[in-house]
């Protein structure tokens, strides 16, 4: 059985430190999977390796059956993998609408000369892009905030906008890096519903890094646990909850 994303023997060394050490797992198409582990376990690094932000030291990543190891980030995005960041990275000085419109760029094909001369294809496709951006805002409940500059948004909405921006690329796989960080329980609850909704609505596969344990356990169909860069366990929420190694490394100590 092979998943939409296959990570094999993935290793990343920073100097002497193996931030990710020989990790293998697979992500089932159409599911919501979780990646958990204590601080510094290497979760974000794995996202950076999958999306091409970091170069892989050893191992491979394949997506939809073809290898994408060490491809440039924009090509990986083009294949259908997008992500959000643990420390939000919006286009800060642009409005909510402009953030989403910018990310819609892959749905248009007009060339630079066509844009300079405002030829029919430019006009036609640009109109479609604008409609698409407005649609996304309305589906995701951000229409009222359309003209707010991204950095003026409340924190929870910034996180939401980052997800909308990722969805604008029509991804197949969405990677969420601690989407509930800094949110209050109310917002976290909303976010959970949002993630399930968009998974169905946009036919997505979701891989989420999260520290809120109840969120992970309720949301994720399968979970990978990392510790010190290595895979500690893999399984369903119940299997993970009952695994003594996980409890020792994570759930018991310091984790929430």
């Amino acid at each position: 059985m092979s998943g939409i994303l296959e990570v094999k023997g993935l290793t990343k060394r920073f100097g002497g430190l193996a931030a990710v050490d020989n990790v293998s797992f697979s992500v089932r198409e159409g599911g919501i999977s979780g990646l958990i582990g204590p601080n510094g376990a290497g979760k974000t690094t794995i996202f950076n390796l999958i999306t091409g932000v970091y170069k892989v030291t050893e191992g491979s990543v394949s997506f939809s059956g073809s290898e994408i190891t060490n491809m440039e980030p924009f090509r990986i995005a083009d294949r259908g993998i997008t992500r959000t960041f643990q420390n939000i990275r919006l286009f800060k000085n642009l409005t909510v609408y402009e953030n989403v419109l910018t990310a819609c760029h892959m749905s248009a094909k007009y060339s630079i000369p066509e844009a300079l001369l405002r030829l029919p294809r430019y006009l036609r496709e640009e109109k479609a892009l604008r409609a698409k951006a407005e649609d996304l805002l309305s589906i995701m409940g951000l229409t009222e905030r359309r003209d707010v500059q991204a950095n003026n948004l409340p924190y929870g909405l910034q996180r939401r906008l980052e997800i909308v921006r990722a969805l604008a690329l029509d991804p197949k796989l969405l990677l969420l890096d601690e989407p509930a960080a800094g949110m209050n329980p109310d917002e976290t609850e909303q976010l959970m519903r949002l993630i399930s909704e968009i998974r169905t609505r946009f036919k997505l596969t979701v891989l989420v890094i999260e520290h809120h344990m109840d969120l992970v356990m309720r949301l994720c169909e399968s979970i990978v646990v990392l510790n010190f860069g290595q895979k500690l366990a893999e399984g369903t929420a119940d299997e993970i909850r009952g695994d003594p190694r996980v409890v020792e490394a994570y759930l018991g100590s310091g984790g929430n």
């Binding site: 999306t51 091409g52 932000v53 440039e72 980030p73 924009f74 990986i76 995005a77 083009d78 997008t82 992500r83 960041f85 990275r89 919006l90 286009f91 800060k92 000085n93 642009l94 409005t95 402009e98 419109l101 910018t102 990310a103 819609c104 760029h105 892959m106 248009a108 007009y110 630079i112 844009a115 300079l116 001369l117 405002r118 430019y122 640009e126 892009l129 009222e144 905030r145 359309r146 003209d147 707010v148 500059q149 003026n152 948004l153 409340p154 921006r165 990722a166 690329l169």
Partner: protein, 310 residues
């Protein structure tokens, strides 16, 4: 028209061409260049070579000014592509320093090419043609349309995304290197064209015209006008080209006043005259919509805070 005022207008129009290019690179793509005088120099020398009469003691090809403009712009564009291949992978500040080195290197090259007069300069022979103001105006209009149409397209938005957050731009599927290159080459072509026009206007060129001070002047105009604003660049080019002339009255204190004026504006308006805004109907609508949205957000936050405290 008074030939003195005409002269200032022509100079402002020429500066504007280069400033628009730099505005695209710095204001919209977020790459700071301190070497654009180098691209102007390439444009000026290639343009002069193409247009100067073959009968001169430093002979040229005697072609029309249009050919000079196209050739000078193309030459600067090609060189910028080579420069970009080497430097655009460098991170922010290093790119800036590399362009500074490039600008100075180009100047030193022309200093030592004796065929074009070396450091003594190259008298181009023709007298200034007041009618060239129309050429300059036409080039200005074309350049404004070009940059404006570019930044309102998905290609321009990709450049802006790079300025805003390069890493997010990458994972949003933007080929960062390619768009930086497009921005650099476009801006260099415009600088090259400005160089051709400057040579035509001055009827004399030497490498000193294209020194670091010239590069700095261009970037000051872009920042003064406001990053990410075409109207700001236009206003900046007009004001800051005219200002030193107006201040001529103060003689040697002129540049001190110029500097003081720029510093004053930057302190009172750090985002420059029109940072991120456009003085067009659509631009003004956007400013108003943003203000309304900000106020609505604030009102809501206040209401919530009140509700919470009860």
């Amino acid at each position: 028209m008074d030939s003195y005022i005409l002269g200032i207008l022509m100079l402002a129009g020429i500066n504007l061409v280069a400033v628009l290019g730099l505005s695209l690179l710095t204001g919209f793509t977020g790459l700071f260049s301190f070497g654009h005088a180098g691209f102007m120099a390439i444009g000026a020398y290639v343009g002069a070579f193409l247009t100067v009469s073959p009968a001169r003691d430093v002979p040229g090809l005697g072609l029309p000014l249009v050919v000079g403009i196209l050739g000078g712009g193309a030459a600067a564009g090609i060189v910028s592509w080579l420069v970009g291949r080497i430097t655009l992978n460098l991170k922010g500040d290093y790119f800036c320093i590399a362009t500074l080195g490039f600008g100075e290197a180009i100047r030193l090259v022309f200093n030592n090419v004796q065929r074009f007069g070396g450091s003594r300069g190259w008298p181009l022979g023709a007298t200034r043609n007041p009618q060239d103001i129309w050429v300059i105006l036409l080039v200005d209009v074309v350049a404004i349309l070009l940059v404006a149409n570019l930044v309102r397209s998905r290609h321009g938005r990709n450049m802006i995304a790079i300025r805003e957050e390069e890493l997010a731009a990458q994972v949003t599927g933007i080929n960062v290197f390619r768009y930086k290159m497009v921005s650099l080459v476009t801006s260099a072509v415009l600088a090259g064209v400005a160089g051709v026009l400057l040579g035509d206007y001055l009827t004399f060129i030497n490498p000193k015209i294209f020194n670091l001070t010239k590069s700095t002047e261009l970037i000051i105009i872009v920042i003064f006008g406001g990053l990410g604003s075409i109207s700001g660049s236009v206003l900046g080019a007009l004001l800051l080209t005219a200002l030193p002339e107006v201040l001529r009255f103060f003689e040697i204190w002129r540049l001190v006043f110029y500097g003081a004026a720029v510093i004053l504006i930057m302190i009172s308006r750090p985002q420059g005259l029109l940072g991120g805004m456009e003085l067009t109907p659509a631009g003004i609508r956007k400013i108003l919509a943003e203000r309304r949205a900000r106020q609505a957000l604030r009102a809501e936050a206040a209401r919530e805070a009140e509700g919470g405290s009860r």
